[in-house]
């Protein structure tokens, strides 16, 4: 392999890595940094690349490690509060509660989406998902992505991000309510 290879990686996979990173971090500059860190790590480890996997899959695998590091760091810097009075938690709870009336019924009847999502192209689908994730709190989005996209076991998510199962379940419930509402707004518009 020649030194020019990594530059080709950048040309061929840079935007895919960037799109992937943006699904996980909201800040474009941070996403750019993650692409850079990924390619540098790939450059260092390139003799470990097995030709039988696709290069993009291999690069995405490295990027996923970087993203998980980022998630751990964010989770440490903004630890999840135990007290319900905490502002973040209160805002999340309030938004989830808006889905329901005071006596616990849906404040608006749900709409049947039918097959509307079948009409979506891949890029439309992902940009809708990204838009809806951005409407969640960063913490909710993180946990939702690990569980629903990465298919991590709940136990593993709790261990990686040092949270209790109850906290995870509550957060995922709120995240699903938020994603559902956002998707409905867009699918049935």
């Amino acid at each position: 392999m020649s030194i020019s290879d990594p530059e080709r990686w950048l040309e061929e996979h840079g935007s895919a890595l960037y799109s992937f990173a943006l699904l996980h971090v909201r800040d474009g500059h941070r996403a750019e940094d993650l692409v850079q860190e990924t390619l540098l790590a790939a450059l260092k480890a390139r003799e470990r690349f097995q030709g039988n996997a696709s290069l993009r899959t291999w690069l995405i695998g490295i990027l996923k490690h970087k993203i998980m590091d980022e998630f751990r760091r964010q989770s440490r810097e903004a630890p999840i509060p135990d007290s319900p009075e905490d502002a973040w938690d209160a805002a999340e709870a309030r938004r989830a509660a808006e889905n329901f009336t005071d006596n616990g019924r849906w404040s608006q009847p749900l709409t049947n989406w039918g097959d509307s999502e079948q009409d979506f192209s891949r890029d439309q689908f992902w940009s809708l998902i990204e838009q809806c994730l951005a409407a969640l709190s960063p913490r909710m989005a993180r946990l939702f992505v690990l569980r629903e996209l990465w298919e991590m076991e709940t136990k593993e998510v709790c261990k990686e991000l040092a949270i209790t199962p109850t906290n995870l379940w509550t957060t995922l419930h709120r995240a699903r309510l938020g994603m559902r509402q956002c998707l409905e707004k867009n699918l049935c518009a």
Binding site: G14, L39, N103, G104, P109, E117, E148, H173
Partner: protein, 90 residues
């Protein structure tokens, strides 16, 4: 009797843990009478399926362009980075 709020919580948690027999029965009873919660259950499952299908099917997003300046910057960093292979052979 469960409220829709309770039912939606059980539907969501059912995706992440095993519900108790008691919870399952309460939820079934509620779903039997509640169209909206039945839809919620369907949509939560749908969303998971669509996400995982796109994900593990390798149908990853490619819609964002890495900005020009970032590409330039990264290209430079990659160029400046010492080539590990040549270092070890010299």
């Amino acid at each position: 009797m469960l409220t829709c709020k309770d039912a939606s919580r059980l539907i969501s948690e059912g995706q992440d843990r095993k519900l108790s027999q008691r919870e399952k029965i309460g939820l079934r009873l509620h779903l039997w009478m509640c169209d909206s919660c039945r839809l919620f259950e369907k949509q939560v499952g749908h969303l998971r399926q669509a996400l995982r299908r796109g994900w593990s099917g390798g149908d990853l997003p490619t819609d964002k362009q890495l900005p020009e300046e970032a590409q330039e910057r990264i290209r430079k960093v990659l160029k400046e980075h010492p080539n590990d292979d040549s270092n070890s052979s010299t």
